[in-house]
């Protein structure tokens, strides 16, 4: 049984049809790249899968639970406890230190400050970022910030990490480092990773790819 599935997703923004019947499935611990040209609907698909955007039509199921018709409160709670997110520009909270940023998902999940910050420190250490704990996002480099964002995404040991162009703002070497860390850490805890990217070198870190074209996901090709 797949961990997360979507069938027949349609989504329009005004007159623009972003998704026109997209399908998707991912298993536990799998790494899947969503690829396709700019404007093809990759990010909309990711946002529908993560329960950030509600599709106009179609079904999204996480462990058999209907994500589309779930209450907002349940969906938020599910996102906090089971999902992790990494975006192109990290989206760290600028007013918080790196440690507080990493502890944030745990705090939002109801954990008290001390144990949350202890777990965050452990996560930062795992990514060799212990020295940055007290620094704010504005005081660290792009590559370091993105690694902090990965530590934050993985601190709750989520079942699925949604990564939207996680290396898009980094140079090749930092991009490789970030991908290596993200996937090694995800593999360690059996986290599935859904990776939106237009970069084929990043996609090469995945187990398989799903191509989105004009809001659809044509039957995926199997090569012997």
């Amino acid at each position: 049984m797949s961990l997360l599935t979507a069938t027949g997703l349609c989504k329009s923004f005004g007159a623009t049809e972003a998704l026109r019947g997209a399908d998707f499935a991912i298993d536990t611990g799998e790494i899947v790249a969503i690829m396709g040209p700019s404007g093809s609907g990759k990010s909309t698909l990711l946002h529908c899968l993560a329960g950030i955007v509600r599709p106009d039509q179609g079904r999204v199921a996480y462990r058999e639970r209907d994500l589309v018709n779930m209450s907002d409160a349940d969906r938020s709670s599910l996102r906090r406890s089971e999902f992790g997110f990494v975006f192109q520009f990290g989206q760290l909270v600028p007013e918080l230190s790196c440690l507080e940023n990493v502890a944030l998902p745990l705090r939002l999940g109801g954990m008290r400050r001390k144990p949350a910050e202890a777990a965050a420190r452990e996560a930062l250490d795992r990514f060799e970022l212990g020295d940055l704990a007290r620094k704010r996002p504005g005081e660290v480099s792009g590559g370091q910030g993105q690694r902090v964002a990965i530590a934050r995404a993985l601190v709750t040991e989520p079942k699925v990490v949604f990564a939207d162009e996680p290396t898009g703002a980094l140079d090749s070497l930092n991009g490789e480092r970030v991908m290596g860390l993200l996937l090694a850490a995800a593999k360690d805890v059996g986290t599935a990773v859904i990776l939106v990217t237009h970069d084929v070198r990043v996609a090469a870190y995945s187990d398989r790819e799903v191509v989105v074209r004009d809001g659809r996901t044509p039957a995926q090709v199997a090569v012997p």
Partner: protein
């Protein structure tokens, strides 16, 4: 790759037997495609004939594998010349793939699926290289990176072609 110049380059670090040269070559450059002994001895014979190497000794027992070789001044000049000469930048037109796409369009088949199949095949190779990089040393990383960048270039062509399929279909329409 110029096997002759590569062997000469290896000999610049000191004289070696044929089998030592083969081993040094395979270790550094032949991980994917090791040299055959025949290639090594044929190349050494040619280098000897052209005065680029010289025999420095023969161990008892005879046979080409028992001979050791050293580079000559002419050999050093040859290596220098080779290193200073750029490789010809080849315009790698994916002519076979282009032909397949055009033929698919001409015959009313799904040209996009031709490109999809190729993308999947390319990505499969890229995954293998990426895994090899992750498990390997710096030499592996550099060798794999070179291959990865070439495959990436192919894929960029492929993606652009996918976006231009409608336009191409109009142009090749009979």
């Amino acid at each position: 790759m110029g096997i002759g110049q590569t062997l000469l380059g290896l000999l610049e670090t000191g004289s070696r037997h044929g089998y030592e040269l083969k081993r040094a070559y395979d270790e550094r450059f032949g991980r994917d495609r090791p040299l055959h002994y025949g290639q090594v001895y044929a190349t050494l014979a040619r280098l000897l004939k052209n005065g680029l190497v010289t025999e420095t000794g023969v161990e008892p027992g005879g046979g080409p594998e028992r001979k050791s070789y050293a580079i000559t001044d002419a050999g050093v000049t040859d290596v220098e010349k080779w290193l200073a000469t750029p490789e010809k930048p080849e315009v790698y037109l994916q002519s076979t793939l282009y032909t397949k796409v055009v033929l698919a369009l001409l015959s009313g088949r799904d040209a996009a699926s031709v490109l999809d199949t190729q993308r999947t095949a390319h990505l499969q190779v890229m995954r293998e290289l990426t895994r090899r990089k992750a498990a390997g040393d710096l030499a592996d990383t550099l060798i794999c990176d070179h291959a990865l960048f070439h495959l990436e270039a192919d894929l960029r062509w492929l993606e652009l072609t996918a976006e231009r399929l409608d336009e191409l279909a109009r142009q090749v329409a009979p």
